[in-house]
Assembly symmetry: D2
Homo-oligomer: 336 residues x 4
């Protein structure tokens, strides 16, 4: 059985995912697309040679008979509405982050999903599908490090455009770490604090850069994340988990070691899409397979909600300069 | 269009490839299978839940209407016959190495393919599809090393079974390097010499282990390959290309760096199937895509023939202790 | 001219340094020793075959005619008195950390040194003499990283004894980082904060372990140091300096890379004396050479004072859980 | 007791060693110097502020009363005469490589030393004193690799001057490996073969570059050494010892890891004097200590002789293109 997928939002990430599904992965096909910009939607259909109908809007697409599952890659503020509609239509939905732009929006989705009685949502936290993070997760679960006590991490981009402002360091950047560490540690956050080091001369006027975010989990694990989005030298994701008996370092992406011109060197990636390209493949294949077998897994609505709550606290900590509490409601048995 | 594939030979590698095609890759399906052991063929069909007919023999399978392309993963001595039959049937054929067990057998295939007037054969030299080797190839082609002058390489297995005898170090092990270096260097071999170091105490009675194979190309590039199939510590593929201005090292497979118990360590793989798992994916996807678009690429019959000629010379060098010439006939324009 | 050195304190570090001076370094000899335990002093003289007189006490030793320079490696609380006496006697003095156990004690030494009108004191902050840190210092000064913005560091010991209590994480452990980062950055500290992660099960009752110390410099550089003194796996010093255009990582100590038993591994040191063995050589040779040429350099009394002030603030931050200010008086021109 | 050393030959290496002895090491002083160019000798005395007499010639210097030990760093063809004279004068002598320019010259020294009845000669094979090679030696002796079976090595220089001709790849370059591997393996050579890869465009007309030297030991260990003296990118010494159960890689020299401008990089040395700077220190300190304690160790006349015999065979193999036998006479008990 081929899973017929409707795509809402044909921007860069929507097209990337559509290309994956139609050309690289197995078991899925794009049968419907829509975008606020219908021309762009049609252009993508043409460019990828899809046999797909272009819809007027997302809600119609979700209802369409020849759509088994929905992929929401539209503008963030629209996510909530489409995910809710998909749940009500009884269709699996892959939603790029954020699940909703507010914690309340996420909560609405959770309530709807619980009421509908079946998990329908997979949130696009692709790092869980990265082979390097999976090795870390395995090492932790196999107790090779002892109990985790600390995480030291960094999320660096070469540059960001003018429109990237201070809170986006949380919403757009840290959001990945916020999900990943909950998953790695099987834990929730208790507090957040944000520190602003001396600002780099390469940052635009409206963004504090770099930032250091300090997180505490309910188990007392302490996490520091450097977010540095104008680091110039490359796209670089670092993560060390320090446990009672040992430390695991996230593997560097594969690269050639060259000896040349007085240097032994390895190239550092510049583009996040390359860094997590395989993770996107695995993530979307998992969604297709889940839809095909009628049981979707991976990051749930609850995980999207938790990330939203943590994000909100981090932004508050950016503003207050204080240690902010993060209060997660109890996890419903539905998401156990 | 889905490429309907018939599989001849359902042993370990045949089943691995069938699993890939049916569960992981896109655009192909297994519609026919056969094996000298028909029960085994049926078992595979069941295990992979294939919708495939089990044939009495390979020749029938090749003729079958619902077979667009053929995968030959049977016992080596049968390859030639099946590949020839596929060519005559006008069907694309993926043939695991060796293309044929003799250079003459390969030549027969070449003659048939040229006569038929169209490239039909892709030989299973998967290393060309390995991302690490591809980075090396790119670095060489981009002239980042200057002209290549030497290759230092190693092919190590933890252990081999009793049936692995001295010439298999060439036919089963070095064969991969023989193809890979022709491709990396865009060159052919001129001479071969084999050196037997002190034998490891871990080798069985019928195998000289380790061996060092020295190759010279027509351009004068010198290659040394350590083949060490009872190295105990792991499956380890090393390759350094030394050029006029720099050196490239084949990347190590991804692994977690751990600090633990007085060691900073990375796991070394034990299993060659894991080492080249992604390369197998890319290789078979390329075959499916090639069959679908009616133009197959990758390692050709000519490459299989060249590997066979070089293998024969290396085995002769094992026996003679001398430097043996490798004489490649001129490459037909057909394979340019 | 050979510098005749008197040693006050013949414990472990005193004997190590005396062995260096008498057997490894050039230009110095041990001519006088003393210890509260005179037998121990005599034992060291015998063990190292020194031609040295054993004195009743440090003050007598300092006055002795055949003592050109003094090395203070006695119990911390005695340092101040001996250093002051050496200054008054017009003799160069190498003082192991701490310069004094209180900031006021350090200040007394500074006042005396300024009054005496000549730099006499070299404080035993040996990391400045470590070849790895020197490479970092050079890279920073050569502006290869751009302006430094952050330092991420770790100071890990396999285990500590029962007598190691929470404030010792500052006084005995972090003290090295406190000096090193002032020197690396050419900057002073402005604030300190201490975070206590979940405690490792391997720590004794009276020590919080690990700890994370957050420092801010007057230039806004942000530093996080993990102090983890029961990390089990080894003695491990990590330091990354993050600048506006790049990052430098402190080199790992030299070790053999082994491929063996499924692992590619490097040994991690267990013993801090090995980690900084060469730095001790360079440090003490610098002191001898300085004394011989009548102009001592390296970490000064002012640096000892600055480390004491920062230490006090860190201990206060351990106790308060708050961000504590670090107020350095203006640096006298004498120490410019 | 200070060892009073007379230096014969004040060229680059003679001055480097003299600087070490007079400024860095302990227990020795330069009291006499000579050179065919007496002005150069005087210049060195002045530059290093030595309290040393300049002699007319080496033989006078060797006889001088105030010379306890001799350092021969003159032009190679003069070594034999000076070493013989030192032996006859009953003085310890450190002789830079080569011990003599012919195997017979080395033999003459051996005969004289045996007749004199006491080991007097330390040959300047400094790699045995390199901390990296010592780690390898320890790993081998501790049986961490099992029995050694192969060595893969490389000796690369960025460039060489016009006067460097083909046999110098053996006499000046490989000579270090020839000694080092005998010492690492505790074994002697049985055969040599030389292979000339395609020549680099960066080599001058009179030198084949690169070269690959294949050695076989009496125990059957097989060694391949790439000598590449115009490799452009740096001075780079590589050595892998492959044993029955594992492999040891010579550590890379210490360097900073930088992340910068799209690269993760480490500097590669350009200058061999930096690569083995610490080894020179340890080597010369060992000589001084040996002279002081009346028992010199390290590389002996026998080792110099063995290196000469192996060198001769390698040069013969360069010329013949054949596998050449290396016949070592039996080692006298005197050198056991
Ligand atoms: Mg995503
Ligand atoms: Mg294959
Ligand atoms: Mg110290
Ligand atoms: Mg030497």
């Amino acid at each position: 059985m081929t899973v017929r997928i409707g795509v809402i939002g044909t921007g860069m990430i929507g097209e990337e995912h559509s290309r994956r599904i139609s050309q690289q992965l197995t078991g899925g096909e794009i049968t419907a697309v829509t975008d606020v910009n219908q021309e762009q939607a049609q252009t993508m259909v043409d460019r990828l040679s899809l046999d797909a109908k272009v819809y007027d809007n997302g809600l119609e697409l979700i209802q369409a008979e020849h759509v088994d599952a929905v992929m929401v890659t539209s503008w963030g503020p629209t996510h909530e509405e489409y995910v809710l509609a998909a749940i009500q239509a009884g269709k699996y939905v892959f939603c790029e982050k954020p699940l909703a732009t507010t914690a309340q929006g996420c909560r609405n989705i959770i309530d709807a999903e619980i009421e509908a009685g079946k998990r329908r949502v997979q949130v696009g936290f692709m790092r869980r599908y990265d082979s390097g993070y999976q090795l870390m997760k395995e090492a932790i679960e196999a107790n090779r490090l002892g109990e985790p006590l600390m995480i030291h991490a960094a999320h660096r981009n070469p540059t960001v455009p003018e429109r990237y402002v201070t809170p986006m360091a949380i919403h757009d950047t840290l959001i990945h770490e916020l999900d990943t560490f909950r998953w790695l540690l099987n834990d929730d956050y208790a507090t957040a604090q944000v520190i602003f080091p001396r600002k780099t001369r390469h940052a635009h006027g409206k963004v504090e850069d770099p930032q250091i975010i300090l997180l505490e989990t309910t188990q007392g694990v302490r996490i520091d994340v450097e977010v540095f989005v104008n680091c110039q030298y490359g796209y670089d994701i670092q993560c060390d988990v320090v446990g009672e008996e040992g430390i695991a370092h996230l593997p560097e992406p594969q690269s050639l070691t060259l000896r040349q011109a007085g240097q032994r060197s390895n190239e550092i990636l510049q583009d996040w899409k390359k860094r997590f390209g395989e993770a996107f493949d695995v993530e979307l294949q998992a969604f297709i397979d889940g839809a095909a077998s009628d049981t979707v897994g991976g990051p749930s609505s609850w995980d999207g909600y938790a990330a939203a709550i943590a994000s909100d606290a981090c932004v508050k900590a950016q503003e207050s300069g204080q240690i902010e509490k993060i209060e997660m409601p109890e996890r419903p048995a539905f998401y156990a």
